[in-house]
Structure formats: C-alpha cells, structure tokens
C-alpha cells in the first residue's frame, strides 16, 4: 500500500499533473480529504485570478470557481461531521497541494493576457484531472453512500466547470 502511494508521488515528478490512478484504493477518510483539498486549491487559484486578471469573462469564471467550490466544500464538511469521519491527509492530497503551489508561483510571474490564458488552460487541465480521478478512483472507492452521492454531484458540477473553462479558453483565443 505504502509503496504504491510512493509510486504515485514519484510519478508526479515526471508528469504535469498528479497521477491519481496509480495510488492504491483510498478509504473514505482519505477520499474526503482529497476531494476537500482539490476544492480548496481551486478556490485559492480563483482568488489569485481575481487579484490579477482584468478580463471580465475570466473574472466571472474565477468568481464562480470560488463560490461553487466553497459551496461544495461546505457540504463536504457538513457530511464528514455528520458521518463522524475525520478527513485523513494522504500522499495524493499532498501531491495536489505541492503541484498547485508550483502552478501558483508560475502564474504569479505572468500578467495580462498571458496570465489569463495560463490560468484558464490550467483550470481546464486541473478539472480534467480531478474529474478523471473522481470517476475512475474516488467514486468507485467510496464506501459510504452519502459520500459517494456527494462525489457524484461534485463530478457533474466539475464537469460543468471544465466545459465552462473550455468556453472561456476559446473566447480568449
């Protein structure tokens, strides 16, 4: 188990985005932590965009990311409290956080249209990765039906974000 987590982390050094699929089957406490972390990181990315971007469409998208992911995470927190599950930190959450920090620093150096393009491109890639992880790993691994249901609703929301980001990206070209 530990070895496959390590393999997943090692794989991250080579890949542009975290490789969820290589991690061992996570438990509900870890799944909750991963989902919450993924949301919180996108809230932070949205706040960075709101601080830097002047593009109306990009700002509207970033505002929505902050609002939607905050709302989903609020639901997630209420659920783990109700289920008495304590979210458990794990290598996937840590890898996501590390990756997001690197992207944040990279975006911090950009300005104007270059920032907008890079932010939106990363939002598309990030949602794609998280959605694949939800679909292939997190939802099938979740054992509590309420957690599974929230993850399924989350997946639909984030697929919406992915499409929305694609529309914004197309308008920036």
């Amino acid at each position: 188990m530990r070895r496959s987590w390590m393999a997943a982390v090692a794989a991250l050094c080579l890949m542009p985005l975290p490789a969820f699929a290589q991690a061992a089957k996570p438990n509900d406490a870890q799944i909750a932590h991963i989902a919450y972390t993924a949301g919180a990181l996108d809230v932070a990315a949205g706040k960075q965009a709101l601080a830097k971007s002047k593009n109306k469409e990009v700002r509207a998208f970033a505002e929505q990311m902050v609002k939607d992911h905050t709302a989903v995470n609020k639901k997630a927190l209420a659920l783990v409290k109700k289920l008495k599950v304590k979210p458990q930190d794990n290598p996937t959450s840590q890898a996501l956080t590390k990756q997001a920090k690197a992207k944040h620093d990279e975006l911090a150096k950009l300005k104007g249209a270059a920032f907008d393009k890079a932010y939106v491109a990363n939002e598309i890639a990030y949602h794609k990765t998280v959605n694949n992880a939800l679909q292939a790993q997190l939802i099938p691994s979740a054992s509590n039906p309420e957690l599974k249901s929230l993850l399924e609703t989350g997946l639909k929301i984030f697929e919406g974000h992915e499409q929305h980001a694609e529309h914004v990206g197309a308008d920036l070209k």
């Binding site: 929505q64 609002k67 939607d68 709302a71 989903v72 609020k74 639901k75 609703t153 639909k156 929301i157 697929e159 919406g160 974000h161 499409q163 929305h164 529309h167």
Partner: protein, 105 residues
C-alpha cells in the same frame, strides 16, 4: 395584502379574460445538476418558471443568448415564450446542464 398586489392580481385576471386560451405556467426545477424535466412542451404565451433547488447558482440561458435568467440558490425565475419553435438552453455556469422548450403556436 398590499394594494399594489391586489391591483397586480386584478390586472393578471383581466389579462387572462382577454385571451381565448389561458396561458399556462410550466415548472422546471434545477436539482443535482439537471433541468427536470429536461424537455417541456409549451404554447405561445405560456410561462416557463425555473426553481433552483441546488446549493449553487445556476442560470437558464438560451443557446442563441436571446434570454438569460440567473437563478441563485432557492430562487425562481421565468420567461414567457413568444414564438413557436424549439428553444435549446443551458446553464451558462455549468454548460453540461441542458434543457429544451418546444413551443407550439
């Protein structure tokens, strides 16, 4: 009841008397990221009313952008369909949410 509200209702009733067939209100909910029902059949003059039961802000936005109804959580909003035809619409925030209105003359 406020006088303004009575006048409004009275006006609504008189309006209904003036047209031969009374216009209907068709309800659509937004719940767990879907428009339900996803397709509705209406007649010219009918009202389509959306209620957002999700915990996120949604919209009902015509594919041709001719109308755009923003729906915060637990709010309702509506349009009146004015011409026959098929109208496709989406949630502009979550474009994977799709709906259709078929308007008969």
């Amino acid at each position: 009841m406020q006088p303004g509200r009575i006048a409004f209702i009275a006006a609504m009733l008189c309006g209904a008397c003036a047209v031969p067939a009374q216009a209907a209100t068709i309800h659509v909910t937004m719940d767990k990221m879907v428009f339900s029902p996803a397709q509705v059949n209406a007649k010219v003059g009918d009202t389509i009313e959306w209620t957002n039961k999700d915990f996120l802000q949604h919209s009902a936005t015509a594919a041709d952008k001719s109308w755009d109804v923003v729906l915060p959580q637990n709010k309702t909003g509506h349009i009146v369909v004015k011409a026959p035809g098929t109208i496709d619409y989406i949630c502009k925030y979550h474009p994977n949410m799709k709906g259709k209105i078929i308007v008969a003359p």
